[in-house]
Amino acid sequence: MIQKMKKLSLLVHANDRSQVLEDLQRLGVVHVEFGKDQQRLEILVFKEKITKLEKTHQFLTTLAASEKTVFHQETYPDDLDVLYDEIEKMRVEVDDLRSQGVHLAKELESQNVWGFYDAQKAEALNAAGIKLRFGKAPAKLFEALDPQEPFVEVAKDGSSVLYVYLQDSKKESAELPGQEIFLSAGSDQLQQKLLDIDAEIKKREKFLLGYCRYIDGLSDGIADLKDRLSYSFANYSLTETAGGQVLILQGWYPEVEEARVREFLDSSRAAYLLEEPKGEEQPPIALKNGRLARLFEPITKVYSLPNYHEIDTTAFLAPFFALFVGLCLADVGYGTLMLAVTIPAFFLLKGEGRRLAGLGIVLSVMTIAGGLLLGDIFGIETFKEGVPNQLYPSLLRPLALFPTMADAMALPILLGFVQVFLGHILRMVNGFRRDGVQGGLKPIGTALLVITVGFLLLEYNFFGPFAKVMVGPIPVGPLVSSIPYVSTVTIVLGVLGAVLVLLFNGVEHHLKFYIRPAMGLWELYEFISQILGDILSYLRLFALGLAGGLLAESFNSIGIMVLGNGHNPLMWVFLIVVLLIGHGINLGLALIASFVHPVRLTFVEFYKAIGFKGGGVSYSPFQTQLKSNNH
């Protein structure tokens, strides 16, 4: 449900500008309609500062979490910009040292092929008249060298030979065969450098940890900056009139807050006007749903918030979404495992995490329900002949209402029809609300056409003999065939639906009456060409459910193969390992697909039926974050 909003127009004298804005920010319920002047330097500076400090805050929070220590919090004595600069400088230095360390480690590793290279001894040899030179040459080239020359093979690297050339220091340096390699320092020196770098990194990390005592102060600083940013937004949204003496500010507030808003306005020195939203205006959107439906609001927001004149789809998509996820996963065992994770998470987490865990609990329950309906526990299927009661409890067998492949395939189609039909009904409600009776007639027409398509598919035996079509225990065929004169009813519904579409399309665009039939033909073409595809798209639920079930069954088979005759106790351990890994992989993959495909059915097929436009802007009141943080 979308909260009702009211429009506030405020007339402020130029002298009262800052006072009224500060009071309004403290009131914290008015969503100010920001003007277009949002690229001012002041605003850009605030935004940049907030981004910088949020980055620093994130860094320190992660650092503190990795240390698993509670840091005593203090207020930072200087400007937070200084804190950012110090931390950034230190981070850059740490990154630089780390990259130096990686470079050195690589050098040491490549040098290790020569053994332990002692640079001092090499220097002493040089002084004594022998200069060590290192090289790498193809094996054939090395073998062809004069054996009298002082080449010493050290190692082989693929088809190349690594060698040392013992050169007389007094002689002039000749070019070495292949590639000469220069060792920058001795192995001990490189190792010492690495240790030094490590010590430097640790020193800086210790310094950085010291900054963790300013995390709370940083949070407050960011909140303060955000307050100042929203103040600037509001300030630059004031429209000057009467030669700059009077300023106008417009905003929206939830109708439930009217008493507070009126109290504030009556005590302020500003003149005001409170109005209901007009037809074309788009107030911000604040969703208000029940506890269960609220869990699904993040899914609504993935696509777009509805606009103010539409129905909030959350409560309508929620049951279908949960059911679809349940049918995709459809396994009592998997659902139980999910519950074992989501229930503790719900009690341990707070805020958004807790809401997501709540959603997880609902989806887990639906997975169990889906598993019960389709008769599946860890890939063990009730309908398979010879599955003993110990594996699929006989107590649960009566609950498997859609156990066969045909039932499992027909159920998503039936659900598709129901959801698409509901979509057209919601479109009708939207049409009635927006354009009166005429606005709702075309969606009634398309809803009738959905029924017509369903009846026609049954009558033409698309799903098998008409009167015998059963979706599990649901007697779809017998119910429809029992309608008196069902063929005539189908034709009447179809004709009526088509007429309504032809005559009442384009009402929202105020199309002339005589243009509508032509446009209606296009609408009919679109409907006819897409409805079958839309419904069949729901078959993905069956495919996903079946694929997950078959994979689970495969892992069970592998486990049984591993177990053999069961006499070896060790094999039981292997069985458990195979089952844990196999079902773990299957559940992980199935979870992703079980989220994505129901989302797609909701956003494409369901939203298309609703004619969902969206584009709503989230209600974001002009308020002080710092104050609410301190509360």
Partner: protein, 151 residues
């Protein structure tokens, strides 16, 4: 036993499941690559990018459904006619699903790239991607209708 019927029917099954699976795999990789690139620029679009990049899986799923529908007909005594019907269904659906999944992947990759560049095109991309998929669904419908010819 009619070995020609078995060969035709087997080919039909292989084409409907295989081509759609290949198409979906290519489409998923195309869209997935784009998603990885876009996430480097804007990590916050992971949710929409995940939804979009997973969409070309549809054709593979439809192929799987078609396989499940036709699989019981592939028996040791299948007639040449029935095998031919299965082959026709396999070709009709398989080719359409292959092309539609690959092209759908490209369309989604464009959308995901645009998301990565800061354009809010999640909803239009989702809707536009459903257009090429429609023909894969129609291919599935053709396959289901052809099933009625099997005697």
């Amino acid at each position: 036993m009619d070995s020609l019927g078995i060969i035709l029917g087997g080919l039909g099954l292989a084409l409907m499941a295989g081509l759609s699976g290949v198409g979906s795999s290519i489409g998923l990789v195309t869209a997935g690559n784009a998603a990885v690139g876009a996430l480097k620029k804007r990590p916050e679009i992971f949710g929409p990018a995940l939804v979009l990049s997973a969409l070309p899986a549809s054709q593979g799923l439809y192929g799987f459904v078609a396989y499940i529908i036709y699989q019981p007909f592939l028996t040791s005594n299948i007639t040449v006619f029935n095998g031919g019907v299965m082959l026709a269904a396999g070709i009709a659906f398989g080719i359409v699903a292959l092309a539609s999944a690959i092209k759908m992947g490209q369309l989604l990759a464009s959308g995901i790239n645009a998301l990565g560049s800061g354009s809010d095109v999640f909803a239009p991309t989702l809707i536009l991607a459903a257009f090429p998929e429609l023909y894969a669904i129609l291919g599935l419908v053709v396959a289901i209708l052809l099933k009625s010819l099997i005697v």
